[in-house]
Symmetry: C2
Subunit: 467 residues, 2 copies
Amino acid sequence: MGIQLKNKAMDVAMKIKKLGQDDPRRIIHSIKVGVALTLVSLFYYWKPLYDGFGASGIWAVITVVVIFEFTVGATLSKGLNRGLGTMLAGALGVGVDYLANLSGQKGEPFVLGIFVFLIAASATFSRFFPGIKARYDYGVLIFILTFSMVSVSGYRVDEFLTMAHQRLATILVGGAICIIVSIVVCPVWAGETLHNSIISNINKLANYLEGFGGEYFHCSDEHVTIPEKDKPFLQEYKVVLNSKSTEDSMANFARWEPRHGNFGFRHPWKHYLKIGSVARQCAYHIEALNFHLSPHQLQEPSQFRRMLEVPCKTISSESGKALKALATAMKKMTDPSPSSQLHLNAAKSAVNDLKNTLKSGTTQISDDISNLLAIIPDATVASILIDIVKSVEDLSEAVAELSLKAKFKRVSPEKPQLLHKGTIKPFVEEDDNVEAQQQPHVVITVKEIENNNDEDLRVNKKPGFLF
Amino acid sequence: MGIQLKNKAMDVAMKIKKLGQDDPRRIIHSIKVGVALTLVSLFYYWKPLYDGFGASGIWAVITVVVIFEFTVGATLSKGLNRGLGTMLAGALGVGVDYLANLSGQKGEPFVLGIFVFLIAASATFSRFFPGIKARYDYGVLIFILTFSMVSVSGYRVDEFLTMAHQRLATILVGGAICIIVSIVVCPVWAGETLHNSIISNINKLANYLEGFGGEYFHCSDEHVTIPEKDKPFLQEYKVVLNSKSTEDSMANFARWEPRHGNFGFRHPWKHYLKIGSVARQCAYHIEALNFHLSPHQLQEPSQFRRMLEVPCKTISSESGKALKALATAMKKMTDPSPSSQLHLNAAKSAVNDLKNTLKSGTTQISDDISNLLAIIPDATVASILIDIVKSVEDLSEAVAELSLKAKFKRVSPEKPQLLHKGTIKPFVEEDDNVEAQQQPHVVITVKEIENNNDEDLRVNKKPGFLF
């Protein structure tokens, strides 16, 4: 019994440790809440303050507990909502109470009752509007709360002006303490968190794509020796699939945040949702790809698979590298185009190779080809990989758009040094109409590469070292 | 200016109307909140009650505003959390205050300050545990709130036992009013909502699959005449992709709900999350399929496509019908196996046909086959459809498991009337090892069909009318 209890305690201690290690900001946040609450207790402990605010000081305590959230944006959003809701409702409560007073001793409860009902019901309904729900839900709740309190207790206590004033003042003090502690002591910015989580998601997709080729094409040995749990990249991308709700709320909170780090007040947070959505699209493709990696589908490669191996591996790894480049550029807040475009072009060129192989190479694999069924899994993988290049391109465009909107650093503003420019036409046959309509044309344009000091682009510094 | 204002007002009015029409429960909920708040105002209006509770009556108002949520489960969860949190924190507050008193006039604020800091920080940290976050987040918040209030104001007012008692009593009254109004007046059950939303999601997937064949295979005319917005089934399935967070919270709330309708107190709500996750898996496959339905990919069908048309259309529509049958069985809370198994078997049999066609039919399409690239899009569609049958099977198993756990009605308990039973072996060739490993074996087992009165199974009543 004693040992069991001890084990249980050890278990909980380990969980606590892990929770703290996974994200140390959690420990800091807990300490910050403790500090803010202890600070606000001064209202009760310190006599002069108590004399000023009276028993209303308790509202400062309530405010701190209720609005102190993990991120600055959430705290600001709740604080401003609470302040605004309280003020509006206070003013309306005074007005309604005045009206109710006019209707005499008997009529007063009825008039107040009708107003409470109407205002509570309509304000509650307004919370169903998506726009209000996303940004002002808490404000409307506080509005209903304060209005009911002011109008109802005003009927009894007859001093609600003092009450409203005290309540507002203590809320302001409580809110100010929260916001100051939240911003000054190791702030957790919703915007920065959103930025980093999008980057980490793109990196997870990249890791999968970089590892996929090796897993799918020569796996017989490796696959047995290295257990799947030592290849986390095969699972990690799955968190991207369900990332929408977190990103939505982070973006909502980020909009309340002031300038911080490299993020201005009007940083295009909404655009991150677009990037997130394109990243999910890419993750859906990877999910389809992953379906073809189940153990029983890995066996001796057929002739057909060996034929596809080189282009498919290139597509996969270059797509992964393009994503990595996008993530790095986002992290450094620089223009992503030069670095990611190189890998994207290499991936597109491999798509072209793959298509040409498929078009012309059937004679080499006549054994396989007589049984179309045997080649379908590999053909599907190839087809999904082609789709993935398309979605990596979309992601690249979305990030480039962000870099324009958010004014990411352009790489060196001096006169660009032209290294190489040209267009490689894709291989097109006469009888190719069907395919040409089905797949997007691949036109490889080697873009101007500018001379710059960016670490990521160092590989391009020697002219002619492009491919 | 006047006209603009009028237009704006009209716009808002239309939005309100739409919001109410989309889900009339929203209007009812708003009225319910109004009623509950007006009821609780009685504490202030009605003298005998006011004498009993004093100014603490305001806590009843606060409780109603704060805990009245859209669903019964959420209201119960918040109410119980609030009650429990208040009681625990009240008891702890009394204990801490007693300890602080022992340390004398000077030491008291320090002892209280230390306790407030420690308890607030550790309780805040506990909110990061996923298990606590999911079910007791609000309770911990209220715990911190009440503890701070009781210990801090106890130091000053020296009557916190009365305060704690009054606060608890008013919270109980406020909570009771909420819960009663929430349950008695047109209740919105989180459990029922979850049940219906899973059914509706499965139906959306089914609609897509039933419509896909027609869209993909003979679309040249139809596609132009019917604009995409008149085919909502092509878009509706997309909500399934991001359904996780809603389902998670619904399931959490449902666990607090008492028996309602056909759902017992221990209804396996958690299992709905499994069904939801399998449904999302199916939706990911459909997303991949949908990628091949983009307008520029629809043209004159090739020989190869015409060859695949019949089996692919059958797979798609039978999978859709199997899903429809699952949804219907869930709706009626009957055993889903008999009705869905028929369609699933038909789909599997079509998968077999498709595989045989692919294996043997290459000679007919020697024109196409010389250009493998041209057949890849159609081959991919076929391959995804085969994957979809697998995921429909998973979904069917998950629903069957639910029907066991939730004790859905077995179809007629009398002696089953055996109609037909047998096993059709799949077509297997000698040189088929690769494929046999790649694709799951298809063994069609015609199950015993029981005689019953279920509407959905009426088609099976005539013996021999099975296929």
